[in-house]
Structures are given as structure tokens and as C-alpha cells.
Amino acid sequence: MPRTLFDKLWDAHVVRELGDGWALLHIDRHLLHDLSGPPAMAEVAARGLPLHNPELDFATPDHAASSQPGRTPGTFPLGGRLHGALRDLSAKSGVRFYDLGQPGQGIVHVMGPELGIVLPGLTVICGDSHTCTNGGLGALAFGVGSSESTHALATQTLRQQKPRRMRIRCDGELGAGVTAKDLALHIIGTLGAAAGVGCAIEFAGEAVRALDVEARLTLCNLTVELGARFGLIAPDQRTVDWVRGRLFAPTGAAFDAAAARWLSLASDEGAQFDREEVIDAAAVAPTVTWGTSPEDAIAIDGHVPDPTDAPDASARSAIEAALDYMGLAPRAAIAGTPVEWVFIGSCANSRLPDLRAAADVARGRRVADGVTAWVVPGSENVKRAAEAEGLREVFEAAGFQWREPGCSMCVAANGEQVPPKARCVSTSNRNFVGRQGPGARTHLASPAMAAAAAVTGRITDVRTLK
């Protein structure tokens, strides 16, 4: 019987079937960060249990760490306490801990793949919904809450119910200036923020195959904004080449054996999905959000909706509330909207190719008057690599702030917030009410589009900047 990528990953990790589609699944990697890690680790200790396999757990501060240049754990005191707790609990239980300023520190979903902690074919969990990012490597990676995190620390397993299988096939080629981020926002805008509820989503098709590995991580990063826990892309030769040589990747003959296995994970010809959607990638334009859900996504030449066009009363009031929060008029063109803040970073878009794309737009230009623009690399290694190739100078010469790695203004749990009513073009993944700070107005976009907004002071089609 032909199997999907998801089926193969699932089947390979079943320790015991529990009936009714439930299984006890082995967890191969558990990533711990400063916000959700300490409570789960403390809970295991309070129950008098050891960590089941501390060698499979990896910890680093990201959410509550300040990104201020020259930061210490105490720069944001509340975060400093969490940092201390994560460091101490990790030391006590034998968990590898990557501290601020060390190679390896960074946003969990950036440092995990970067170090080869995350490999194709593994099950990976983290107390963070964007763990689905790691599915871009062909890992079964999913976000969990505190209780599940505690369970996994104590048992190295989770009780999971098999989700439905969904495939989103992206046919055709993305146009010039159109990125994985635009594709992701376009898909969410087209299918809706609840389209993937209860599903494991495999992204497939020509446009997905053509993405480099970092872009695949970006695409899978936004799977949770479709309501799903799992996003997946089948590993191919590009994946194998990307993984080779990473710190925790196997070496020599062991790597070749692993690679052969990874390449066999792709969905079989004729494998059945519970739902299938087709997206025309060639029709995707640079895409931005106008409202307070990632599904409020429109092409850069589009207009924000008019509540009076809504199909029913509840949709009408939702549009009205979103327009009011965002300070936008019905039917306004999205391009040309003035902005005050730009944030380039987050587990969606803080990898080296993201920073290169933004730097290409920033090079030789200046951040517009009245705009504050931040670049926050996703990890210490990304930061050092970007500095080595001169990207820091490009950004600083253009008037961007170059900051320390962490989640920063995406999660706004580290003292870093967009001020109330300020409008921010952000490469992050959530434009929820208050997400970047109380009253903050977030427009999601790609790194190149964010840089274009910074240098023009407006939401701008990057393709018009030559």
C-alpha cells in the first residue's frame, strides 16, 4: 500500500499502538527555550522523575532574551530570571545548553536545523507552535504545550492521535521577487487560517521542489497559521547536501546510510491524502497582510476589503474590527501605506538567505525619515556568517539597527515592542491583535518587502525598486 511522507514518519516512531488512531510515539529531539522550558523541567523535577534521555534534549534562550547590542541576561530582568532557570535546570539534568554569545545560541527553530540537531526523519517537539518550521527538512516536528513537554521529558514519548493527511501542491514557478514567505501568505489567504485544522500538511509540487532549504523552513514555519500542527516537505538531494557536515549530523558511511533512508521518505506514487489543494505558484505576487489574522493576506497591488461586501454579519464585524485596529480605510490600496517600524527577524525569516535578500534592497539606500528598522539575526551563527560577508555594514550604512539573535519583536516577551498604534512591516508570522505590543499594527511580509518598506517609508512593491 503506497504511503505518504507523513505515514512513513509516523509509522517509524510508534512504540505502541493505543487504539482509535492513538499511538505512543518516540520523540527523537526535544528543543527547550527560556519561556516554556523551565516550567516543564521544574515540573518533572517536582514529580521526582529524572529526564528520560537528556542527550536528546537541547536548550537555548530565545523568547525572553533582549536583542539589544551588548546585552546580558539582565538587560531584560524578567528574561534574565528565565535564562538563569533554563541554564541551571539544564546543567542539573545534563541537557546541552547554548548560552548567549555562544555559537549555537539562537531561535530554537533556527539553531536546531543549523546544528544538525534536527535531521530529516526525526520526530522533533518544542513548547512552541512554530516547531512545524523543522518539517522543511522532512522531520515530523510539532509544537506542544507544557503538559506534553513535561510528558516527553519524563518518558521520551508522547501519546498522539494520528491527524488527517493533506497535501498542498504548488504548481508552476514563483516569479522574480516572490519568495517562500509570499507563497505561504498567499496559501493562508487563499485557503483560510483554519484550513489545516486536524491535518498534517505536506507541501509539494514544482515550486516547493525549487525552494532552497531555508525557504522550505520558512514555508513550513507558517503551517501553524493554517491551523495545523505539522508541516512537511519531502527530503531530496538538496536537503541531504544541506545537512551534510552539520555538527550533530552523522559522518562518513553513517551519513550515506542515513541519506539513503531520508531519500526514501517521499510520498509514494499513488499515496492517498484526505484532502488535496492546488496552488498556482506563478500567480503569486509579493503578498502582505492588512488585518489581524494571517489569512488577511493580499497581493501588493491589492486593496483592503470593504465590510459592506462581507457575506454575513459576523464576517462584516470581523473586517470592521480589523480595519479599526489597523487604522485602515475600506478599499484603500495597501501599497503606499506609510510605516514607522520595520522588523526583519523571527523563526519565519531570520536565516542567512533572508538577511541577504533584505541587504540587497538596503544596499546603497537609506532608511526613510521617521522609520525605525531592526535586523535581528536568527542565531549567533547566522549573525557571525552575515558579519563575515559584510551584511552588517550594508545594514548599518543604510541606517538599520543590527541586533543580537533572539525572538525579539516577533513575540514581544523580551521588553521589545512596537509602540501602540505604530505601523510595522514585519517578517514574522503573526499579525494578531497586540502580538508585537499592545495596539501595535503589524503587516506580515518577506524580508525584501520589509527592507523596501524601510527605505521608502511605505508599504512598497519591492519589484519597483531597481
Binding site: 512504540v15 505512543l24 486536524g198 495545523a228 550533530f248 470581523a318 501602540p420
Partner: protein, 208 residues
């Protein structure tokens, strides 16, 4: 975990789609407070005006719905962040059951871990119940019978996964249950080290 058998009381109609866990509880509250202190911070963005005073227009502030044990919501309730604090904040408001057409996957799961029952019902049914409950008339959610009894006394069925129902009814702790299988887990791991040696991290003479 607190067992869940049945609850009776008002059902608050919060009929909007895509209410995310950031809106249910802000991240700063989770860095500053314990899990049993979050009730006052639930739905801040909806309940409070910018100056911190209560917005009387918000349904959650209406006297009929203070301490209501049931919440009625639109599509994709609890989407977004994995924060289990969203469930703790709802519990702090006294909510034990949420009825909606669909839920964010992680939130749905987190509910069961804490003795909160998420009920998936078709939109039309949730809307009809919301209309009946608009004045604060009580409903009864019975997990034994798997029914919601509306103010008009009609008992309407809902589906719930058998394993999860059992765990909720008895307040069962998964960790204890799973550790009963620990020999099996260790056996699986031993076999896996042979099957997938590459899945077991080794770093020779290196630091990151």
C-alpha cells in the same frame, strides 16, 4: 488533572472566528504570573479599554456571563501560539467547556491536558445555541452522556474521542500511564540505536 463529568451554567457567546491564544492571554502575563493567577488577564484585549477600565460592550463583562462555565466561539478558536497558559487563563475565568466549530490543534490538545472539554459542533448548531443563551439561560454539558442540554431542554449529542473522554472523566495522568510502558520504550530505543544509529546524537571532540 481536574476530572470533568458535567457542568451547568451560562454559556458566553463570543462568536468570532480565529480568536488566537495571544488574545486569550498576553505573553507578558505568562512571564510574570503563575498558572492559577491568570484569570484576571484572560481576554484583556477584548475586555479592557486602552486605559485599563472594563469595556461594558464586551460580552465577557456582562453580569449574566461572569463566571460562566461554558464559552461559545467561532471557527478556529485557540489558534496560534502553543502557550498552555491560554487554557489556564480560561480556567481562571471559570470556563470548563468551549464549544466551537473548530480549534487550533495545539490548543485543542492542551484543553484535554487540563480538564477543559473542547466540543466541536457545526457552526449552525453553535450559532443556534448562542441565540438561546444570549440572555444568560443555562446549559448543561454532560460528558457521561456526551450531550449538551440547551435552554429549551433539548439534549444534543457531541462526539469526543473515547481515550480522551476516559482520561477527562477520571482526571487521569498520562505520565503515570506511559511510565507503565517504560520497559517497552527502552526496548524500542535499544532496537532503534541499531536501526537508526544516525538518530542518536554523538559529537566527537567538538563544541558547537
Amino acid at each position: 488533572m481536574t476530572p470533568f463529568t458535567a457542568v451547568t451554567g451560562a454559556a458566553t457567546p463570543l462568536m468570532r472566528a480565529n480568536i488566537d491564544t495571544d488574545v486569550i492571554v498576553r505573553i507578558e502575563r505568562l512571564t510574570a504570573f503563575q498558572r492559577d493567577q491568570l484569570g484576571p488577564y484572560a481576554f484583556e484585549a477584548l475586555r479592557l479599554r486602552p486605559d485599563g477600565s472594563e469595556d461594558p460592550g464586551c460580552v465577557l463583562n456582562q453580569p449574566a456571563f461572569r463566571n460562566a462555565p461554558v464559552l461559545l466561539a467561532g471557527e478556529n478558536f485557540g489558534c496560534g501560539s502553543s502557550r498552555e497558559g491560554a487554557v489556564w487563563a480560561l480556567m481562571g475565568l471559570g470556563i470548563r467547556c468551549v464549544i466551537a466549530p473548530s480549534f487550533g490543534d495545539i490548543f485543542f490538545n492542551n484543553c484535554f491536558q487540563n480538564g477543559v472539554l473542547p466540543v466541536r459542533w457545526p457552526m449552525a448548531l453553535v450559532e443556534a445555541l448562542a441565540t438561546q443563551c444570549a440572555g444568560g439561560a443555562p446549559v448543561t454539558v454532560d460528558l457521561h452522556a456526551k450531550t449538551v442540554t440547551a435552554p429549551d431542554r433539548r439534549a444534543l449529542p457531541f462526539d469526543v474521542d473515547p481515550l480522551r473522554r476516559e482520561a477527562l472523566l477520571h482526571g487521569l495522568d498520562d505520565i503515570g500511564l506511559t511510565l507503565k510502558d517504560d520497559a517497552l520504550i527502552r526496548e524500542w530505543q535499544q532496537a532503534d540505536r541499531v536501526r537508526r544509529p544516525w538518530a542518536w546524537p554523538v559529537v566527537q571532540g567538538a563544541t558547537a
